[in-house]
Point group: C2
Chain length 226, copies 2
Amino acid sequence: MAMNSQNGKDPVPIPTLERVTTYLRFLLDLEQSQIDTISSAEVERQTGINAAQFRKDLTHLGQFGKPGVGYNVAELQAQITRVLRMDHEQKVILVGAGNLGSALVGYPGLQEHRLSLVAVFDNNLSKIGRPLWNLEIQDTATLTEVNKVLGAQIAILAVPAPAAQKVADQLVEAGIRAILNFAPVILKLPRNVYVRNVSFLQELAVLSYQLASESLNAPLKKQEKE
Amino acid sequence: MAMNSQNGKDPVPIPTLERVTTYLRFLLDLEQSQIDTISSAEVERQTGINAAQFRKDLTHLGQFGKPGVGYNVAELQAQITRVLRMDHEQKVILVGAGNLGSALVGYPGLQEHRLSLVAVFDNNLSKIGRPLWNLEIQDTATLTEVNKVLGAQIAILAVPAPAAQKVADQLVEAGIRAILNFAPVILKLPRNVYVRNVSFLQELAVLSYQLASESLNAPLKKQEKE
DNA sequence: GAGCATTTGTTCCTTATTTCACAAATGCTT
DNA sequence: AAGCATTTGTGAAATAAGGAACAAATGCTC
């Protein structure tokens, strides 16, 4: 009678979600390797993610495993795919056809996850009208109008920082409900629009700190236990 | 007599670190805008980050603000920069000169943060020897040897998934202590090597789920306040 | 088909993070 | 220079996440 998580009831914690996407990747690799069953203990061995955590994460999505056996790889992969809505085709638009934007478009994983890039925008006149892969770059100014037809809900924002907020506002205006933001800017958006920020500079800063703090913390003793 | 955090004593929590890099970005913007003082309350207003959290995060790095006044923007920015070791020049190497790698190299923010790209590697014969921006692409096979001279501690890993683990091993062999990994693979590395993973596909998956769960959670009522 | 070796789902406990709330500190005003 | 309006830094409370442990479930062996 436990109806705790069968249907999308309780919101899946963000940390869990982030790991789940990792599980999906891992499971796809296992499928490649013709492995059809895996236990949480084996997951821990291969990924370093705690077995109990793996199991608990999955309970947020539903029930999948068989006691004494483990998880059917293909089935679990399909389930996660379904939960993440990666089984439907989803339209994505890109704003910003610079180096980064262009690199993202070319990334093969997009189709693999049923993410279909349906339009690319840029405000650079010399780029507008040119092809980027299989799409023609359109004027950012027409973004709202164009997406009223396309109806994409997800956008990738890869414009320079100074332009980001303005474009983000246009995206919302255009009906976009989720933004993957590469600009190093804190976007101010309505609460009902989801944002994920990606900043490789910030990631490098974290690494930089970790390196630095290490030499501060253990400069005297060379003991390297645990 | 509180010697709790002046020198890198307690390890700064990762969530705090991640926010700190955001603060840094924000402070740099404020400096641009000629704003020289800011309070935690104002930070909350402008970034959405809880004021108490901002203050507590900063205490992990030291003491900065003045009661009744707030924080000196330039000073705080400089402090954070120092703590993150972004005041020293730091060498970075890149492995993988594909679309993504090329885009990263061109990113202007690198120099701004004193991150100096000193070498680029790829294993594609048609790329080796060619210039990428101001560097010549070198053979990944020579990575270990080359970095013994260069002595970079930070690497950006932007190779295809199947090659990632092998290259990562080479990086460690080459003395790299921190890896920014763009390959959708869980790297198995010694505990004393720091890794940060960046995966925009996973980020899109999270957004996809959030969109989906929303329509599950509030499909009946259309009330959408705030 | 009973016993055994596994392995899950879940409860309970521990640890970490966030938020609250307020005393101490600062500078401004009169 | 005393009072006042701020705003910090920080303990203490609340919330969230992570991990250990175990009963229930499964399939395998004999």
